[in-house]
Subunit: 337 residues, 2 copies
């Protein structure tokens, strides 16, 4: 900046004004400074800028208050990243909302003070009221990203999560190739209001129908991400459908599924594909209860939220390619640890 000031024959303050598009500079002066900038190949030192600015980013994660492993992993990552990001003047915090309670999320969002919160990542079912609340937050000047489950028609600035249709397709392809005999496939979902679950179903059905007509996708269980509920519903399902050769557990509540399978040694040949790599699903892979796990990396999710929220708050561009969350496939052999 000193060099620019010298070359352009202006003061540091003016260079700063131009650099940050602050008002109060004559067009002609801007031109002179711009020229100097181009000529010198200047790259801005964000670290120094933040230091001087003493800016602190306050980012909030709104998560369902469920006692499930995936939310756990997210919270842990938020904690870990939070410590590291402290060096980067970024403060992460978490607000919990009763699961599937969109009213709670709405009032949470509406209670946000733009002076205290620069950005918010929302993990929520999709209802009109939430969409509107997001719009209001956005209009207050708070950056908003949707997390894991998108709310595409809201005013969110970005979506952070995997493409759930592709995830469902991936599960279907693996299912079709792993299963060795014709039969029925059981689909376990979480909630009709969770867009991520719906999309997985769409993708799954599509590929099954197309590529594996010898397999029939049977009655789907709505487990509300609740292990107990899942566990209690399964016996009846297996009674009604004796010929189940595969299970796609597309939501949470895996613990109920594993517990049920442990109790039914006759079911060990069933191909099971589930979501999210957690201690439980990792163990299930090792033990052969699960054949594959589809995962979205919690660390990436959190990091991506932070980057996107900061970029949006600062109104600066970001690298879209880097922010695409990958659909990880884990089988026993490539599972770390």
């Amino acid at each position: 900046m000193n060099d620019i000031a010298r070359v352009a024959g202006v003061s540091l303050a003016t260079v700063d004004r131009v650099l940050n598009e602050r008002p109060g500079v004559r067009k002609i002066t801007i031109k002179r400074v711009q020229a100097a900038i181009d000529q010198l190949g200047y790259v801005r030192d964000t670290a120094a800028a933040n230091l001087a600015r003493r800016r602190v980013y306050n980012l909030l994660f709104v998560l369902p208050d469920t006692d499930n492993e995936f939310i756990h992993a997210l919270r842990q990552q938020i904690g870990e990243q939070g410590e590291k990001l402290a060096n980067d003047r970024t403060e992460l915090s978490v607000a919990l909302a009763a699961p599937f309670d969109t009213q709670g999320i709405v009032s949470l969002l509406d209670g946000l003070d733009p002076a205290k919160t620069d950005g918010v990542a929302v993990f929520s079912p999709e209802t009109p009221s939430v969409r509107d609340a997001i719009k209001r937050a956005h209009d207050k000047g708070i950056a908003v990203v949707t997390l894991v489950a998108d709310l595409p028609t809201s005013q969110r600035d970005h979506f952070v999560g995997i493409d759930n249709i592709s995830a469902g397709r991936t599960a279907a392809q693996l299912m079709g190739r792993f299963v060795r005999t014709p039969g029925k496939v059981l689909f376990i979902t979480g909630s009709r209001f969770a867009r991520d679950h719906l999309e997985r179903r769409l993708g799954f059905d599509d590929v099954m129908r197309q590529d594996f007509p010898e397999l029939e996708v049977a009655a789907s269980v709505e487990g509300r991400d609740d292990p107990e509920l899942v566990y209690s519903m399964l016996p009846e399902v297996f009674e009604n459908h004796p010929n189940i050769v595969g299970i796609y557990s597309s939501a949470a509540g895996n613990e109920g599924l594993v517990r049920f399978m442990r109790g039914q040694p006759g079911l060990r040949d069933i191909v099971v594909i589930a979501h999210e790599l957690t201690p439980l699903s990792r163990a299930a892979l090792k033990d052969g209860y699960f054949d594959a796990v589809i995962n979205q990396d919690a660390g990436h999710l959190v990091r991506s939220c932070a980057r996107l929220l900061r970029a949006t708050a600062d109104n600066v561009p970001f690298n879209a390619a880097q922010e695409r969350i990958r659909i990880d496939i884990y089988i026993k052999e490539n599972t770390p640890g």
Copy 2:
């Protein structure tokens, strides 16, 4: 730091000495400062530190000068990350060595000036001379990591890459589950001196023998990562082994394989598993020539090298979990873009 100085009743300079474990402070003074630090819950601002230090990390990547897509991806990532890391006072550069020419790598390493190079990431075949050169570089005070292919008995500070034995096991498991009829599996390797290729073979054979005895791992082709060579060797292999049901391409040179398969429509049912997601392999997945691709993310590799090299150069700890490179599995459905 000001607060600490005030509370401890010493100067800024002394606080700095204690914080950075610099010599020349009495034990008692250290204690006083430490107490103040604990009491105040101080967290160091690395950005400010780097700013003041004006430290620049000069990191070098030594890569084989092969015209293959994976090296390409690495170089591109080095370029991209390099630009971003410029803000972090980190300079990345690349040195190329003739492929499989360990002598070139050795002289490159020996020519390094610790004043100009803080760390180096080495992607090289494993020979005693390279090991020794690494030790010499290390002893000169240059941080060294091995990249993609480990040289475990050298003095490298870390290895950055996937666990290649597990990668081979992963390929085998997928192969065994995807293939529907007994027969032979062709193994294509790169070089006998490339440790990564060797390890993949080990893992692959192990799982095949154990879990899929109905499949026989047939003659392995040594393609030297050269598409032309691979292409020219395949016809003979298929003559000698009429019953090939699967191919594991564990090295580079995929272009030769794809070209060969395009010319042999009768081979479309063969299950093909290859390494590294590149434009070529991505297209092969889409077109159904490849059934799965095992990948190590080039971006992660480069970022990890940079972090590790900087941490080692500064002699500070790092987060091992974050530095573990994952074994990605791609099938048609979960391939991005």
